[in-house]
Every structure is written in structure tokens, then in C-alpha cells.
Symmetry: none
Amino acid sequence: MNERRRGAVRSEAAHRSILEATAALFAEKGYDHLTIEGIAARAHVGKQTIYRWWPSKAEVVAECLLEGVLLPYQFMPPTGAPVRDDMVDWLRGLNAFVTGEQHAELFRSLVAAAMDNADVGRMLRAKLGDESVMVQRLQAAVDAGQVRSDAPLQEVSEAFAGMLALRVLSRAPAEPDAAERMVDAVLGPYLT
Amino acid sequence: MNERRRGAVRSEAAHRSILEATAALFAEKGYDHLTIEGIAARAHVGKQTIYRWWPSKAEVVAECLLEGVLLPYQFMPPTGAPVRDDMVDWLRGLNAFVTGEQHAELFRSLVAAAMDNADVGRMLRAKLGDESVMVQRLQAAVDAGQVRSDAPLQEVSEAFAGMLALRVLSRAPAEPDAAERMVDAVLGPYLT
Amino acid sequence: MNERRRGAVRSEAAHRSILEATAALFAEKGYDHLTIEGIAARAHVGKQTIYRWWPSKAEVVAECLLEGVLLPYQFMPPTGAPVRDDMVDWLRGLNAFVTGEQHAELFRSLVAAAMDNADVGRMLRAKLGDESVMVQRLQAAVDAGQVRSDAPLQEVSEAFAGMLALRVLSRAPAEPDAAERMVDAVLGPYLT
Amino acid sequence: MNERRRGAVRSEAAHRSILEATAALFAEKGYDHLTIEGIAARAHVGKQTIYRWWPSKAEVVAECLLEGVLLPYQFMPPTGAPVRDDMVDWLRGLNAFVTGEQHAELFRSLVAAAMDNADVGRMLRAKLGDESVMVQRLQAAVDAGQVRSDAPLQEVSEAFAGMLALRVLSRAPAEPDAAERMVDAVLGPYLT
DNA sequence: GAGTAATCGAGACGGTACGTCTAGTCTTTTG
DNA sequence: CAAAAGACTAGACGTACCGTCTCGATTACTC
């Protein structure tokens, strides 16, 4: 019945150490200059221990993202204020975060990693709040009578997410009023 | 005598040869697995001849883009039909192109290259039609009375461009009606 | 009274299996490419079971030699014929064995192992008949009046052994009459 | 007619540096613990520069031997005294050199290398004076009337060389009178 | 029996070195 | 005299083994 495993068991210490080293080096040097040898050295781990569990550096990065070691923030849309203000707040925060001095390079590296590996892309979208989260917030607004019930929530969400994507891609500087203009232009017509 | 002229001619041949080799190898292996050595070998050129003219492989790729060797298409929005239909056509075409079997991997590589090098990003945006081109088309629609004069053209354009960006990033499959839904949702409210 | 040990006892099956796997792999790949991991895998044995009982692969090889798993032959000088003919026979046989197609590579590996580990060297010499065995045969010839009693038996033996050693070391091909020439040159002057 | 090569030419500095580093490390750690990486590091040379010119570390060692970087001594038999004394001197010197504290380990490593690679074996024999050198010295003795003209010079030489080989192989300590006993036993009967 | 050691196969661990590949620079020869 | 050919130092790649260290199971002696 129970397939007994034999031999020593995976070392959780090594596992953690690898993820932490990866996160640190990713932040320091970016995805391109991240190396398996560097991770192994920083984590005080044999290279084989990395290759035993992950097929490529992209997968290690994906797991870092999943575990929140790389990007500990989880962006959920706020819900207290009227939907228009909540969306502006949220988009403004994300936009500032994603394009700000601190993190712009990190995100460019993450996008490069995502282009290399679909898992990284998936994790990254989940972290940044995919459209389903946005749609839920908008649906709540519909239920509260703040948004017309015939509003195309899916498309509105996609427009907002796309705006963020575009700004990462095009190295656009963070403009404080971009979020406001975007929300008014796209969501505005559907507010009651 | 004219021996010297021939030397200059040969140099231009090398230049072209490098761009063509780069384009061919880019298409074959993608940006990550593109190497200077590979380009030099394929172009029958010394590595130094590449390093003499470009500081990095990203710059070679950028010039390929500029010269149209990599991406010979130039996407301009059509102008014949009502603006709503023109935009749908245009977005649909671009979306299919960018996410289709043939080119999806190429675009992912281009995005990776753009993350590595701002020039590549600039070229890529220019090739795919940046917002200013879209804004011009929309302005024409305003002038023609098809779109309300208070419509936020900049933001509408950004929403459309963002949608495309998002689809490249997230490896979304090409949905034929996505363009239509997007145009109706974002531009719809501003049509007269 | 007797301090008996507790717990399981050394597995004879594992022991044998290791020696056999070692012999097989030694013959297949030679000493240099023999690995502890390879032996363990071939013997269906944990690596630790090898390290528990032997300090190095050289010691395992030495025991293989001792147990006759590696080299099942035991060369003793014949005694029937006149000493000159017996020595020729014996040297010829050994020389052919040691330098022949079949075994030359094996012996080179054994020499390499002997350079690595003195025990292997000891075993190897014992197997191939060290000088004391030769001296005994020659002493019998002295007693039988076939060899002068003032003959330097030790040095004559050493000369014969040295000839064999030299031929292994220098990859000399097996010459059928080498043994005869050697015996006549070195032992000849002392025959009665 | 002459196929001339293009491009840069082999760096003599790197070549020398590699041979010297190899000799130093060989002496320090022996053949087994000699590594290509170690040589490259010590010689301030890329590993590829070693692999470009030699297929294995054994070949590098062989060239070290050939170039006299590893073993700068060249043993030629002396010729001044009567042949018996010259041979004793020569054998004693070689035996002491080969089995002495200083060099025994080096020679064991060299033998191991020779078992690995035929070139090393050839070089080693040439360095230590192969039998042809000995035969020449003995022939001179024959011409001078010190040795009988029917003496089997080839076999006598082989006996002496074999004695040395055996002593390297068997880790025999250097006995000062071994050379004398050997010469008297093997060459003695042929002296006039 | 229950307890206690030592053994077993299996295999993960931190490491070292392998032999290959590419980067970016420097050098020689040739058209 | 520009540029092809290619050697140079440097360093990461992914693999193979090293010798050590768990694991859980098994075996054999002691109490």
C-alpha cells in the first residue's frame, strides 16, 4: 500500500538556504547575471543539490516567487472607499512599486525570467494580482450599486493590468496621476 | 586605386551579413541562446568585427529590429472603415500576430531583449505602433465626429497597447473576439 | 567472559558481491575508471557498506587480488625438468601472460594500483611469485648439483623478476625467445 | 602549395607557464592529485588553453618529461674507470636517486602516469637511460677487452634496467651494496 | 519477549574536478 | 591596412564521484 521511501530525506535547511540565496542574488545582480554556481556558493550548498531538485535557474526563481522569498508583497485591492478611489489607490501603489527606483530593475529581471519560463510568468501574475482579483473587487462595486451591472468587468480589469504591464516593459517613469487618468478613462463611463 | 574601394564595400557586406546572421539565429534559437560567437561564425566574420561596431548582442538585435531584418512588418492602423471597426481589425491582427504559433516565441525573446536593453524596447514599441500612432487615428475619428471630443485618447490608446503587452507577457492564447470586446469596452462609451 | 559484540554481523553476501563487482569493473574499465559508486551500484550495496570495511578503493582491489577474484592464477615455478628448462618455461609463461593481449591492460592497471597503495604491490608480487619462490627453486637445483653452489641466487632471481617488471612497465610485446635468452645470459654461467 | 594558417599563433609564454606549473604541482602533490584546474590556476591560464593543446593531463606530464622540466637529470653511464666499477657507480646512483626519500614518491607517480599513457612511459625510459645506452657502454668495454666478446650485452642491460624497475615498483629501500651485488652476479661471469 | 546495537540498501549532503562553451580582448596573416 | 581567423584569460555550465551523514528496515545478541 504505502510506497515506503528509502534513503535520506530532502534537507529542508538546504532548500530554504537555496531560495534565500537566490532571492538575495537576484536582487543584487538581476536574472541574467544570476548563476547556479553563485547560488550554491552563497547558500553553502553543493551545485548538485540544486540540480537534484530543480531543472534550471528559472525554476528556482519561480519557486522563490511562489514562496514569497523574492517578492514578499501581496497586492490586494483595497475595499474601504468608493470603487473609483480604491482602484486609483491600488493602481497608483502598484505602478509606483513596479516602476520605482527600488524595484524597476527587479521587475525587468522578473519579466525576463518570465519570458524564459512560463512558471515564472504564472507566479508573477498571481503575485501582482491577476484580473480575477480585480474582477471580484469590481463585482463587489456592482453589488453595491456603484458600478453599472452591464459593465464589462473582465475587459476593464484587463485594461488596468495591461497598463501596468506596459509600464514595466517600456521603462515608463512612475507618473503619480497616471492611475487616476486611467481609472477615469476606463472605469469612469461605467460608474453610476 | 580601386583596391581600396573594394575594402570599404566588403566592410558593408560584413555589416549586412552580421545583421542577417543575427536575424536567422534569433529566429532559430531565441535571444537567450543567441551568441556573439554564433553570429560571427554564421556571418563568416571575425568576432572583433562585431565588437568593433556594437557594444553588446542586445545592440545588434536592436539594429536588426531598426533595419527591419528581424521584423519586416510595420503595423499601422487602417483608416477606411468606421473607427470602431478599424480598431478591432487592427488589434485583432496584431494580437494574432503577436501570440500566434509562428511568432509568440520570437516576441517573448524580443521582450527579454527589451528588458536587457532599452534601445530594443524602444525599437520594438516603434515597430508595433506606439500610442502616438493610435492617438492620431483616434483624433481623426474625433475630427470625423465618430468619437466624442472629450474622449481621453491617450488613455484609450494605452489600454489597447497594454492589452497586447499583457498577452505577450502572459502567454495568453489568441482569442479572436478579444479585440472586439476590448474595443467595445474601452472605446465604446466614447463613440457618438 | 567473552566480550561479544551485539547487533547484526557482517554480511558475507555483501562482502562477496563487492569483491565480484570490483573484479568485473576492474577488468572492464581499469583501475583509474573504477569508482566506489560504480562498485556499490553493480553490487547492489550501499556505499557506506564499502566504506565501513575498506578505507579506499585501492584496498578493495588489494583484497580482490588476495582472494584470487581478480587474478585466479598462481604462478609457481615447475620442477620436473632441468632447472634451465624449468626457468625458461616459467618465465616464458609469465611473460606471455603479463604482456599478452588479454591481460596487459589489466596488469598496467594493477601496477597503477600498486603505485597508489603498497598493499596492492605486496599482493601483486606475491601472486606473481616473488623472488623467494624463485630462490627456492634455484636452491633445489644447487642441491641437485645442476647449479654451482656459489651462484648468487638472490641476484639471479631479481634479474628475472626485474625483466618481467620492465616488460609490464614498458609495454614491450611478448617475444617468445626473450625468456630463453634471459635465462641463458643470467643463469647460464652458473650451470654446472 | 603551402597551406598557411591564419590568426594568432600559439603563445609560448602560456606554453612554458603550463609546463612549469605542471612540474611544480606534480612534485607537490603527485600525479593522482594533479588537476587541470590546478595547473590552469597556477599558470594563470584559461583551462581551454590547456585543452586546446593537450588531450589529457597525462600528455602534459609527458611533455614536461620530454622538456626536462619535471626531471632535469639525464643519466649517462660514466666511462672513466673499468667497466665493472663504472656500472656499479651508475646503478648505485640511479638506484639511490630513484628510491631515495626525495624522489621515490615522484617516481611512483611517474610510473602511475606511464601506466596511464604510453608516451609518458617512453619519455621516462629515455630519461632514465634505456638499455641502448647501457649496451653502448658495455660494447666499449668489449672493444677495450674488458668484457668477453660473446657476452649477451642486451640481456645484461635488461637485467640491470629490470632491477631498477623492480625497486621502484616494490618500494624497496635503497641498499648501497645492491648495485655491486647485481653487477658482480650478472656482468661478473663475462668479465675477462 | 523487549531492548539494544550494529548492519544493510538507499540516497541526500557539501564539495572538487571534469571537459565544454561563451564572453570580450589581443595577435597574426592575408587580400 | 582592415578584417578574417583564431589564441588568449576568465568563468559558468551541467555531470560524475568523493567521502560523510541520515534514513527506515533487519538481524542477532543481552537481559
